[in-house]
Each structure stands twice: as structure tokens, then as C-alpha cells.
Point group: C2
Chain length 311, copies 2
């Protein structure tokens, strides 16, 4: 992801997204909000569940993510944790839907205190266990990887089952993959943060090869695996690699609004597909990563803005 051209594209988009007028336009004007609604399910849990219901009609399951990151006060972490237990209650009442949740540790106070964060994750994991709902811990930028894996170990050592996300573009991931709790569910992604070149692979091709090696390694080590990519060649490889029995623990995952054609196609072919459904009011940082990640996403955004400006 950090070939000179890719990295430049990402830097540029993220720089523009950081400008106050752009943020204002994207979050406060009707056309901006309309476009954001392609990638964000809505600002409320109700809207997220509506999206999940629509996906369910396509035989696609969901993973709710109440957006937010890097909280700066314990009461915000507490509020985030409560929003997740609320979501879990709601999931429990929507028994016909297959829904998991994804949490970000900096939203649960990781920047403030490890103990606080572990306590929140434990509380969420306990609430989830009652109805057997899956909880996945998201991975954030490279400075958080050690602390995130540490929280994962602490929560797992306490006998709770939570999954973790690993990012193939980080050089360290190929070591981290060998140190996971046994049987821990892994969501494998390429990675979308703007990282310093010394911590990530040199170019896109190396990221793809690392993804392929990581996938095979984690599969062979018996981890349940979420293959979270929109890359057709990686997806084809996984289809070829996994045998009949393996499909009980391998699932494709994609983001809400990205490659909807591919999501529908895979689900139509009978493969397990889960879509990451982000919701909440704090959606702007999430949106910027999506725009910086794929030229197609940015293009969709800009052309929609231009269309609405003309009309």
C-alpha cells in the first residue's frame, strides 16, 4: 500500500480530508451527507439494523461498528462501551439476523488506561456471550498494535472469546500471526492507515503476497478466518485454497458500500459473506480512510458532489 504512487494518493486525500472546509462540506451539506451515506449506514443503531436487514435479504450477514476512536475522557469510553452493550441487546432481540460487532480499543479508553480498556472489553465480551454474539477487536495504526495484542491476550486469558484484526501491510504482522491465542478468530485486512514507510511493505505486490502467506498460515494453524478484502485475485485464491470442511470457519468480509456487486455475487454463489456496517455520528475519520484507500471510492465521492452542485 505504500508504493510511491499509492502512498502519495493516500497522503493527498487524507490531507484534503483534513481541511476544515472539506470536512464541513462532507459532513454539513446535503450532497456531502448523501455521499457519506454510501459508506456509512446511518447515525443511529436503528439505521444500522435496517441496513443489516436489507443485507440479510441478500444472504449477507453483518458486523456492526459504532464509529468512534481515540476518546480523550473516561466518560466517553464508558459511553462507547454502553453503546456496544446496547447494540448487543438489540442484536439479541433481532434473532433472525446474523450480526457480530466490531470494537476499537481507542474508543474504549486505550489511550487513557489499559485497565480501563480491558474492563470495558470484558464487559462487552460478557454481554455478547449470553447470546453467542461474536466480538471482533479492530486494529488501528501501528503505534497501537502492541497494546491491542496485549489487551487481546488479557481478555483471552480471562477465558473470554474475542477476535482480532491483523493488517497484512505491516511488516510485523508475519511475526504477530504466530503469537495469537489458540483458536482466536482473525479478520485479515490489507490495512488502510497512513503509516511510515519503515513499518509497512514496500509496494502493493508485496502486501498482496503477505496477505496470501498470512491467510495460508492462519488457515493452517486452525484459526477461524475472516478474509476482509475486495481484491478479486485474493478472493479467488481463498476459494481455491479452502476445502469443503474449511468453509465452517472461513468467511469473506467487505465494507458497506464497497464492491456491492462482488458482495452479492459471492453470497449468490453460496459463500459466507459478512459486511462491516459502520454507524454513528463520528463517521468522518472512517470515511476519509475509505476515500484514501481506493481511487474508485474517491471518484464516486467527487463525481456525486459535482453532480449535486450542477443540479
Amino acid at each position: 500500500m505504500s508504493s510511491p504512487a499509492t502512498s502519495l494518493f493516500r497522503r493527498l486525500v487524507l490531507a484534503v480530508c483534513g481541511l476544515r472546509w472539506f470536512r464541513w462540506m462532507a459532513t454539513r451539506t446535503p450532497p456531502g451527507r448523501l455521499v457519506a451515506s454510501r459508506f456509512v449506514a446511518g447515525e443511529t443503531l436503528d439505521q444500522a439494523v435496517d441496513v443489516a436487514r436489507a443485507l440479510d435479504r441478500q444472504r449477507i450477514s453483518g458486523m456492526l461498528d459504532h464509529l468512534g476512536e481515540n476518546v480523550t475522557a473516561p466518560e466517553h469510553a464508558l459511553a462507547a462501551a454502553s453503546s456496544y452493550t446496547q447494540a448487543l441487546d438489540r442484536i439479541a432481540s433481532e434473532r433472525s439476523l446474523d450480526l457480530a460487532i466490531s470494537i476499537k480499543l481507542t474508543q474504549l479508553g486505550l489511550d487513557l488506561s489499559r485497565e480501563l480498556c480491558v474492563a470495558h472489553v470484558n464487559r462487552i465480551a460478557d454481554a455478547a456471550e449470553t447470546f453467542g454474539t461474536l466480538v471482533m477487536i479492530d486494529m488501528e495504526s501501528h503505534g497501537y498494535v502492541d497494546r491491542t495484542l496485549d489487551v487481546l491476550q488479557a481478555v483471552s486469558a480471562g477465558g473470554r472469546r474475542v477476535g482480532i484484526c491483523l493488517q497484512a501491510y505491516l511488516l510485523r504482522t508475519e511475526r504477530d500471526a504466530f503469537e495469537l491465542p489458540t483458536g482466536c478468530r482473525v479478520r485479515l485486512v490489507k490495512g488502510a492507515y497512513l503509516e511510515p514507510p519503515e513499518v509497512v511493505h514496500d509496494d502493493k505486490r508485496e502486501v498482496d503476497l503477505a496477505f496470501a502467506r498470512l491467510f495460508a498460515t492462519l488457515y493452517e494453524r486452525g484459526h477461524p478466518l475472516d478474509v476482509a478484502t475486495h481484491d478479486p485475485a485474493l478472493i479467488e485464491g481463498v476459494k481455491r485454497h479452502v476445502d469443503g470442511d474449511g468453509w465452517s470457519r472461513v468467511e469473506f468480509q467487505m465494507l458497506y458500500g464497497v464492491r456491492r456487486d462482488l458482495q452479492a455475487k459471492l453470497a449468490g454463489e453460496g459463500y459466507p459473506v459478512r459486511v462491516y456496517v459502520p454507524y454513528g455520528t463520528e463517521w468522518y475519520p472512517y470515511l476519509t480512510r475509505r476515500l484514501a484507500e481506493r481511487p474508485a471510492n474517491l471518484w464516486f465521492f467527487l463525481s456525486s458532489l459535482a453532480r449535486s452542485a450542477r443540479s
Copy 2:
């Protein structure tokens, strides 16, 4: 390896190589033979051992391959088997050199009789065991894969230790990798035969991803592994993936005369490197696969011919 462009290149080169005048020029004229000597160690065992000795001075070990394939009479298979036991005797007398041998089953009568072939491989494996020499079975075009794996199983079931080559470009290899004898040494290559499109991956990128998945799978399953590629990105990935202990069973392999700079660099960095040293009078089919495999090899061949025509 079978993207439209790659496949066309391979088809073209192999077609030209099949022309009688081209074969005559490559095998019978001094410039043709001079160029072939870049990729073939020589016509005799002595010449191959000389090459192995020169490689050894660069801390590179060798794998002798007495060229020949698709014999059509039992006495030719017997002659081939004898040439290998001779090579094994010679290896035993060259104790300072680290040498393995590579055998092709069609050279040992696979087209004539499975039993004949198994008997020859057993004889070679027994001769090799006395001095602990490694015997690797080469993989040939896709029509031979089933029979080759069958001979491997028969020989392994008899308690003999031989290794096998797997080709990442074949779609079936991702299944074959799960069916190998436990602990069997594997030489992983991309594949260089001209194959029908329905048995190989669609394009070069998919072959590379399959190579990465196969590598990680075989590594995780505990197979000793020869990473036989000249592709720097795949090699870098292996360096990153294998930890300290893993290097006791992973080795890089390259072909005599191909990327000599990379061979020397890896050996200089302290990585285990083995070079495949082909020799014998039947070198033309081997040469044509090398020319069709990498534009750089063909370019070297053609420019050398042009130079010698001018001088």
C-alpha cells in the same frame, strides 16, 4: 504464467525452439553451444562437479540433474538410473561438497511401466541413503502429476526418503499440497511447461499469490522446503516469514546461470542457497524451457548469437 502475453511469449519461443534449423544452430554451432553453456554445466559428470566446486567457493550448494526425459525403451531408463548411481558414487567421493540429485520419472521409465520406474527410484534412493544424499523427484507437465505423486507415495511407503517438486501454476497443486507424505521435502517452483489454460492459473499475479499460499502452507505443515524461484518479491517474503529455527529446513534454490547476482547476494547474506546444476547430452528440451520462461534468458541467448555472428 499463462496471462495472454506470457502464454503467447512461451508458445512463440517454444515453437521457434521446435524448428529444426534453430535446434541445429543451438546444438551444433559453436556460438549456440557457447550460449547453452550458460545454462547447462556441461555434457559430463566431471564438468558438473567442476561447476559444483566453483559454486561451493561462493558458499552455494548444488543439485545435480542428469538431463533427459521421456525415454522410450527400458534400456534407456536403466542407463539413466545407472547415471544417477554413478553420480551418487561421485558425490560420495566429493565429501567436501554439499550435493543433492534431482531425477525425472519419465527418464526412469514412467511412460513404460510404473513398476519399472518405482524400482529405479528405489534403487537410486537406496544408493543415496548410504551417504545421506538428498534425492528430489522433479515434476513434469500436468499429465504426469498423478503418476508422479503415486510413485512418490509408493517409494515413501517403502520407508525411503525422497523429495518432490510442486508447481504453483497448476490449479491442482493447492489440493496436492495437503496429500504429501509427512515430512516430505518439497521443492516449490512456479512451473515452466506450456500447459492448457484450464489446468493453470489465469495470470502471473495469481501464480505468485498461489506460490505465497503454498509456501506458507507447506512451511506450517512442517515440510522441509526448497523455495525455487528467481522472483525477488517472493524471496523477500520468505525471508520475512521464516524465523531463526525455520532456516534449518528452508533453502533458496535457483537455476545454474540464472540471476547469478541474486544467488551470490543471498549466499553472501548467509542464507542457504542451492543451485540446480543440469548436465548431460540431452540438454536441448531443458534449454528451451529456460528460454521460454524468462524474456531475460531469451534476450541473453539472442544477443550472444548476434554478437558471435558479427565477430
